[in-house]
């Protein structure tokens, strides 16, 4: 249930409304706009049956939220959420007018490789770096990532390039360690419904990049976001990365429609991973263009200095020239969608 207040509602009126709702054992969430304020009610709504919400001072209207997700729902927020990642060294923004591009290798393989890739993607226009430290691989015999060593390299690379970093966290036991080194924590597709992990991420002071599970519905993705938000962390960026279908010509099928649907259903930013969606370097640019045209707030792209030698996901990684070309063309798609590519305001290389 959401309560929309009258214009110019006072703090005291809002406090009173929230106290009445919380006195029956529910919790409230406040979203303030310039004119309107929305008070969202969280918990068992039948408890509110006896509370005369409509007649409380300051209340304009009371509307039920029929969706199972509440905090993530569009109705709960006056404005779209803007998630800011990073800080002192550099910043990337998701959900505003600008489109942020995250780029980097699938896995961190070595210091030299990471630094080279980071400098390159930054110069080509990326405002954030990706790089896997802990890799969820289908085979237990495949390369599993450099782990803690990779986290240190990511932090070192951020200091050298000014690019904030995102990396995947797979296990509740890794959350503190990863949060110490990374600016944004990624929940991979295979962990989208790892509810213990989601709950844990609700307690960290870092934005979360939540990837859609390979067989997850849009509703399930939003419920996963709700888990994180219900535990206290409201900085969630959703990521469409392709879903499993009967098609075998592509690794996954990019669900383009998910972008406008998610933006209709939720106030959270939505980005797209064209690398995993297609599973093929040739498909990355066309899928990226389609994503931006459909309203995505950003991209996450795999770039490797030498894809043939990549320890993981070489087939879908862009080589540097292909990334440069894609970035050069992307601006036109952004402008056609009424957006622009993000330009980092960060001080350039200090290394």
């Amino acid at each position: 249930m959401i309560i929309i207040t009258r214009p110019h509602v006072t703090d005291a009126e809002i406090d009173h409304i929230r106290e009445r709702i919380e006195a029956v054992g529910m919790r409230t969430h406040l979203s303030r706009g310039e004119v309107r304020t929305i008070i969202g009610c969280i918990g068992d709504e039948s408890l509110l049956a006896e509370v005369p919400l409509r007649s409380l001072p300051g209340v304009e209207s009371v509307t039920p939220v029929l969706k199972p997700y509440k905090l993530a729902s569009r109705e709960f927020a006056v404005d779209r959420t803007i998630v800011r990642v990073g800080g002192r060294d550099g910043q990337a923004t998701f959900g505003g007018r600008s489109i942020a591009v995250i780029a980097g290798p699938c896995s961190v393989e070595s210091r030299e490789m990471l630094l080279d890739t980071a400098h390159f993607v930054r110069d080509a226009g990326a405002t954030m770096l990706r790089g896997g430290a802990f890799k969820p691989r289908t085979s237990p015999y495949a390369f599993q990532g450099l782990g803690a060593k990779a986290l240190e390299l990511l932090a070192e690379t951020r200091a050298a390039t000014g690019l904030p970093v995102v990396t995947e966290v797979m296990d509740t036991r890794q959350v503190d360690l990863v949060a110490e080194h990374a600016d944004m924590l990624q929940v991979g597709a295979r962990n989208m419904q790892n509810f213990a992990l989601l709950a844990e991420l609700g307690h960290v002071q870092r934005p979360i990049l939540l990837k859609r599970g390979l067989s997850a519905t849009i509703k399930e993705l939003l419920m996963a976001a709700e888990y994180i938000m219900a535990n206290g962390n409201h900085d969630v960026v959703l990521c469409e990365r392709g879903i499993r279908t009967y098609e075998t010509a592509t690794r996954n099928t990019l669900d383009i429609a998910a972008i406008p649907v998610l933006k209709r259903e939720s106030h959270l930013p939505v980005i797209v991973d064209p690398s995993h969606a297609g599973g093929d370097a040739d498909l990355v640019a066309p899928l990226a263009f389609a994503a931006i045209a459909a309203g995505a707030d950003g991209l996450i792209v795999e770039v490797h200095p030498n894809p043939e030698c990549a320890l993981s996901d070489g087939d879908q990684s862009l080589a540097p020239p292909a990334f440069t070309q894609m970035m050069a063309q992307l601006g036109a798609f952004a402008r056609a969608a009424g957006r622009e590519l993000e330009v980092t305001g960060a001080p350039r290389a200090v290394a």
Binding site: D11, D15, E19, I21, E22, A23, V24, G25
Partner: protein, 98 residues
Amino acid sequence: MSDPAKAEALTQLAQCRDEIERIDNQIVTLLSQRLALGKRTGELKRAAGLPILDPTREAAVIRRVTERARDAGLPSEAAREVFWQIVGMSRRAQEAKE
């Protein structure tokens, strides 16, 4: 920045951090006092035959601290979150029997 100015800033930074540590210690002491009172409240509620969970009281506590936080110039939403954590901690202490 000149070196003396930098040295002075670093000295003051260290002093600020000491002060923060001192305040954090006070917060921990106050929290443990609050929790002890919570436990005592739980015993008294049991003696009086009252339920441990009292949402009306919790909501009133939150409202009061929200107002105070706002008057003190603090971000009131963040302060509410902190106090919901404290209220939850206290409730769990009340629920725990000796």
